[in-house]
Assembly symmetry: none
Homo-oligomer: 89 residues x 5
Amino acid sequence: MDAQSAIGIASIVTAGITMAIGSIAPAIGEGNAVSQALRSIAQQPDEANTISRTLFVGLAMIESTAIYCFVVTMILLFANPFWSWVISP
Amino acid sequence: MDAQSAIGIASIVTAGITMAIGSIAPAIGEGNAVSQALRSIAQQPDEANTISRTLFVGLAMIESTAIYCFVVTMILLFANPFWSWVISP
Amino acid sequence: MDAQSAIGIASIVTAGITMAIGSIAPAIGEGNAVSQALRSIAQQPDEANTISRTLFVGLAMIESTAIYCFVVTMILLFANPFWSWVISP
Amino acid sequence: MDAQSAIGIASIVTAGITMAIGSIAPAIGEGNAVSQALRSIAQQPDEANTISRTLFVGLAMIESTAIYCFVVTMILLFANPFWSWVISP
Amino acid sequence: MDAQSAIGIASIVTAGITMAIGSIAPAIGEGNAVSQALRSIAQQPDEANTISRTLFVGLAMIESTAIYCFVVTMILLFANPFWSWVISP
């Protein structure tokens, strides 16, 4: 196996694994947060606005960890410095 | 496999795994914190401001651990001193 | 594989793994602490200041363990004495 | 692989793993202690001073185990007697 | 690999693992003890002095197990009799 193949395979596999593992926890964390938001709105309907606003800020923070994984995956696929070097003449 | 390939593959795989594993705990920790914040707002709506403020400071602290992993990942991809050395003539 | 490659790969992989594993427990511990702080503020709003202050000192202590891992990671990447020795002529 | 490489790799990997594993328990232990402190302040606000003082002494004791790991890591990286011997002429 | 390398690597790895694993239980145990002490002070504030004193004696005993690991680690690194023998001419 030459260097291009090895670097390519490593990038492909790592991109997939990163996004796959990186999506587990944000999904669970957001699920818990949304679940609790609905319960809280049901319990205190007058505060639905405050609860929604706090929920959305919190979801954005949780989502950011998934976005980090997505960015790393995109970099590995489209802006991979190791690949650029290995295919440069 | 020559030195460039080996260092490159190690950097790629480590970058992905670091970000993937590093996003698990912050997402779950933030999910718990947000979830409890919503429950607390529903229970004590008059304190919604204090609760939100404390929540956001706490989320920032938790998020910092994910950011550390992201920084390490970016360094491995774009400012890797070992890679710089190995491709320098 | 020569000595430089071996030391470099070990440093890269260890840096990533250290930061990834080292971010798990602080994130979960801080999530628990923040979660309980919000519950306590909802239960005893008059003590919100004392609770916040105690929470922030506690978060700083917990965060310190993540910072230790980050420092070790940075040392491995940028001030690695073994790497310095191996690339010195 | 010669002796220098082997000793160096062992030191690098052990330094990272020591700090990573060594940060798990202190972070969780401190999270539990802070969490309980906030619950106690909410329950008995008049004792907030005593509770805070006891908490901080306890946190210092728990933090000490993380500091031991950090010291061992620093010794492995910068004052490693085996490395000193192996690179001495 | 010659005898010096093998003994050195075994010492390094064992020193790190000993300190890392040896810090898990004391940190969690102290966290539980501090946590319960704070709960007890909140429940019975008049006994705060007695509770604190008992807590500190208990923490010292728990901490001693971490100190044993630290001492063993230091001996492995700096006063290792096997290493002394293997490098003696």
